[in-house]
C-alpha cells in the first residue's frame, strides 16, 4: 500500500449549467404503441412485402375463382392432337406431351396445393399451439410428457411419415387425409417454438397479477399468455404453409399424394418428367409457379418475423 497522495489523473469537464428541461411530457392522446402497430409500420415500407402479398393474393384468387384466369374447363383439357404444341390463343403456355393445356392445369392445380397447404398448417399449428402452451405453462411432469411426445414426432421426417400414412390410406386419399398426414407430423417444431415463447411470457408481471386477482390458471393461460405468444406462431405458421405446399408436391411426385386424376402442381411436374427431353416446358412452367408461390410465403413469414422482432429491426 503506498501512501502517496492521489494525483488528479483525469480531466474533468466543468458542469454545464442548463435550465430544467421537460423530459417527461407524454402525449396522452397518442395511440399506444405495440408490436403489431410497430411491425405494421415497418412492413408497410418494404416493397418485398407488397410483392409477396400480391403473389399470395393472385394464387388465392386462382384457387377460389379459377375461371377468372382460364376458360378451359378442368380435367378434359387434353387433346392428343395438341401434343407438345406451342402457345395458342387462350392457351398462353402451350401444351404438354399428352396435349394438356399447361396454363389451365396450373390454374386449376392452385386449389389443391393451397387447400392441402392451408388445412395441413391449421392442423399443425393448432396441435403445436395446444401442446406447446400446455407444456410451457404448466411445466413439471406435463411438460416432460408432452416434450417427449414432441421429440418422438420430431424424430420422424414428416414427409417419410406422410409416405407411410398415405400408403396405409391408399383406399381413401383425399385433400383432408393428405393434409392430416402432413400436419399431423409437422406440429412438433411449432410446439417447440410456442413452448419457448410461453416459458418467456409466463414470467411476466401481468401473468402474476392475473393469478393474484384470482383468475384460474387455465383462464390466465388462455387470456394473457397465449395472446402474447401469438407473434412467433404467426411467423412459423406462414413458414409451415410454404413447407406444406412443398410437401404436397413432393408426395404427389413420390406417387403417394392425390391420384393422377386430381390436378396439382406436384402431379403436373411428376407427369411432365416422363417427357422431359421432348417437352421440357411442361415441367418448367409449373416448377416456376410452385417455386414462386413457396418463395412468397417464405418471404412473408420472414418479413413478418423481422417486423415483429424489435431486435431484428435494430440489427438492420
Amino acid at each position: 500500500m503506498s501512501s502517496e497522495p492521489m494525483l488528479p489523473t483525469h480531466f474533468v469537464a466543468p458542469v454545464k449549467e442548463a435550465g430544467p428541461v421537460v423530459v417527461d411530457a407524454v402525449r396522452v392522446d397518442a395511440k399506444p404503441a405495440n408490436i403489431w402497430s410497430d411491425g405494421w409500420r415497418d412492413l408497410r415500407r418494404r416493397p418485398t412485402f407488397w410483392i409477396a402479398l400480391l403473389v399470395v393474393f393472385i394464387v388465392l384468387l386462382m384457387a377460389v375463382w379459377p375461371t377468372l384466369f382460364t376458360q378451359t374447363p378442368p380435367n378434359d383439357n387434353c387433346e392428343l392432337a395438341n401434343s407438345n404444341g406451342g402457345p395458342a390463343p387462350g392457351h398462353p403456355l402451350g401444351f404438354t406431351f399428352q396435349g394438356c393445356d399447361i396454363w389451365a392445369r396450373i390454374v386449376w392445380g392452385a386449389r389443391t396445393s393451397l387447400a392441402v397447404g392451408l388445412i395441413a398448417t391449421i392442423i399443425g399449428s393448432t396441435l403445436g399451439l395446444i401442446m406447446g402452451a400446455l407444456a410451457g405453462f404448466y411445466g413439471g411432469w406435463l411438460d416432460s410428457l408432452l416434450s417427449r411426445i414432441g421429440d418422438i414426432f420430431f424424430a420422424i421426417p414428416y414427409i417419410l411419415a406422410a409416405v407411410v400414412v398415405m400408403t396405409v390410406l391408399s383406399q381413401n386419399r383425399n385433400v383432408f387425409t393428405l393434409a392430416l398426414a402432413i400436419g399431423g407430423f409437422a406440429w412438433a417444431s411449432t410446439a417447440r417454438v410456442v413452448r419457448a415463447e410461453v416459458l418467456r411470457v409466463r414470467q411476466a408481471d401481468f401473468v402474476m397479477a392475473s393469478r393474484a386477482l384470482g383468475k384460474s390458471r387455465f383462464g390466465t393461460l388462455a387470456a394473457h399468455v397465449v395472446p402474447n405468444a401469438i407473434a412467433p406462431l404467426l411467423v412459423i405458421s406462414t413458414l409451415s404453409l410454404a413447407a406444406a405446399i412443398v410437401a404436397e408436391a413432393t408426395l404427389s411426385f413420390l406417387g403417394v399424394g392425390l391420384g393422377s386424376g386430381t390436378m396439382s402442381w406436384g402431379n403436373d411436374i411428376s407427369q411432365a418428367q416422363q417427357s422431359l427431353r421432348v417437352a421440357p416446358m411442361a415441367l418448367i412452367y409449373p416448377s416456376i409457379v410452385l417455386t414462386v408461390t413457396v418463395l412468397a410465403f417464405i418471404l412473408l413469414g420472414e418479413l413478418i418475423r423481422d417486423a415483429l422482432d424489435p431486435r431484428a429491426r435494430a440489427r438492420r
Binding site: I152, A155, A161, V163, V164, T167, S170, T250, L290, L295
Partner: protein, 309 residues
C-alpha cells in the same frame, strides 16, 4: 463428458422406441386388415399373406407384435421386402451408395455454406451478400425434385457436362451431379445460419479482445470467429438430416442411383407396403442415431453444453 454422453443416451431411448412404435402403430393398429391396407388394390397370394402374418405375428396382440419386431431389429434382422428378399441384404447393397451420396452432398453443402456465409457476413449489405441471400432464398423455396429436374435438363441433357443418369456405375466420380443437386438444395439454410452466426460472433467480446491484443484479421477470423460460429450450422446439418434423407430418395430416383432411397421410392410406386414400412423405419433409426452422434460432437465443440442440465 462421460455424464453428458450417458445423459444423451438415456434421452435417446424413449425417442427411439417411441418413433418406431408410432410407425408400427400407424400400419398395424389401424382399424381394418393391415395386410389389405398395405397391398391396396393388389391381391397378395395366400402364401404371402401367411408368410406376412407369421412374420409380423398378426395373430398376437399389437404390443406383442411390436415386441417381436423390435427383438428382430436388435438381433440385426430388419424384416423381409415385398419380393421376399431380406431387408438386410438390400441394405448391404444399397446403403453404401446412399452413404457415398450423402457424404458428398454434406461436404458440398458444408463447404459452400461456410465459405459463402462467412464472406456474406463480412461484407454485410454489399453486392456479394445481397446476391447470396437472394440465391439462397430461391433454393430454400425450390423443392428438391424441381431443382433436380432442372439441373438434369440444363446441365446434363442440354450442356452435356454430366451424364443424365447414374445407373449401375456409382463410384464417387459418377455421383457428382446428384451430390451437387442435393448439396446445393441443402446449402441455403446452412448458409443463412452461418451468416447470422458469424455476424453474432463478430460482436462478441472475445473477438474485440483478439483484435485489441493485436492479432491480425487473418488469425481472428478463422480461429476466433469461424470455430465459434460453426455450432448452429452443424446442428442444422443434423436436424436437416431428415430433409437429406427425403432429398436422397428423390435424387436417387431422378438420377437412377440404386441406393436406399431409390428402393423406398420404387416401393411406393409399386405400392409395396411392407417394404415401405421397413425402409422408413431404417431411415428413422439412421436419423435418430445421426442426431445422437452430432449432439455428442456438439458437446466436444462447445464445453458449455456439457454442463447444462
Amino acid at each position: 463428458m462421460f455424464a453428458y454422453i450417458l445423459r444423451r443416451f438415456v434421452q435417446v431411448i424413449p425417442v427411439f422406441f417411441g418413433s418406431t412404435l408410432l410407425i408400427y402403430f400407424m400400419v398395424f393398429a389401424m382399424p381394418g386388415d393391415p395386410i389389405a391396407a398395405l397391398f391396396g388394390d393388389k391381391q397378395p397370394s395366400p402364401q404371402l399373406i401367411a408368410q406376412l402374418e407369421e412374420q409380423y405375428h398378426l395373430n398376437e396382440p399389437f404390443l406383442v407384435q411390436y415386441f417381436y419386431y423390435m427383438a428382430g431389429i436388435f438381433q440385426g434382422n430388419m424384416g423381409v421386402t415385398f419380393s421376399g428378399q431380406s431387408v438386410n441384404d438390400v441394405l448391404a447393397r444399397t446403403l453404401p451408395i446412399t452413404a457415398r451420396l450423402a457424404i458428398m452432398a454434406i461436404a458440398i453443402e458444408f463447404t459452400l455454406a461456410v465459405i459463402v456465409g462467412t464472406i456474406s457476413a463480412l461484407r454485410k449489405g454489399k453486392i456479394f451478400d445481397n446476391t447470396a441471400l437472394v440465391i439462397s432464398l430461391i433454393f430454400v423455396a425450390m423443392p428438391i425434385f424441381v431443382f433436380a429436374f432442372l439441373a438434369q435438363y440444363f446441365l446434363a441433357i442440354q450442356l452435356g457436362w454430366f451424364k443424365p443418369t447414374v445407373g449401375g456405375q456409382n463410384d464417387w466420380g459418377d455421383l457428382w451431379l446428384p451430390a451437387l443437386v442435393l448439396g446445393i438444395s441443402l446449402f441455403a439454410t446452412s448458409m443463412r445460419l452461418m451468416r447470422g452466426s458469424v455476424l453474432d460472433t463478430l460482436n462478441q467480446d472475445w473477438v474485440r479482445t483478439a483484435y485489441s491484443k493485436g492479432l491480425s484479421r487473418r488469425r481472428v477470423i478463422p480461429v476466433h470467429v469461424l470455430r465459434n460460429s460453426l455450432i448452429p450450422v452443424i446442428t442444422n446439418t443434423a436436424t436437416n438430416f431428415g430433409v437429406l434423407l427425403v432429398g436422397a430418395t428423390v435424387t436417387e430416383f431422378i438420377f437412377n442411383i440404386p441406393g436406399v432411397g431409390n428402393t423406398l421410392f420404387q416401393a411406393t410406386l409399386r405400392h409395396e407396403g411392407p417394404t415401405i414400412v421397413s425402409f422408413v423405419t431404417v431411415f428413422v433409426i439412421i436419423y435418430v442415431l445421426v442426431n445422437l452422434v452430432v449432439d455428442l460432437f456438439y458437446g466436444v465443440l462447445d464445453p458449455r453444453i456439457r454442463y447444462v442440465k
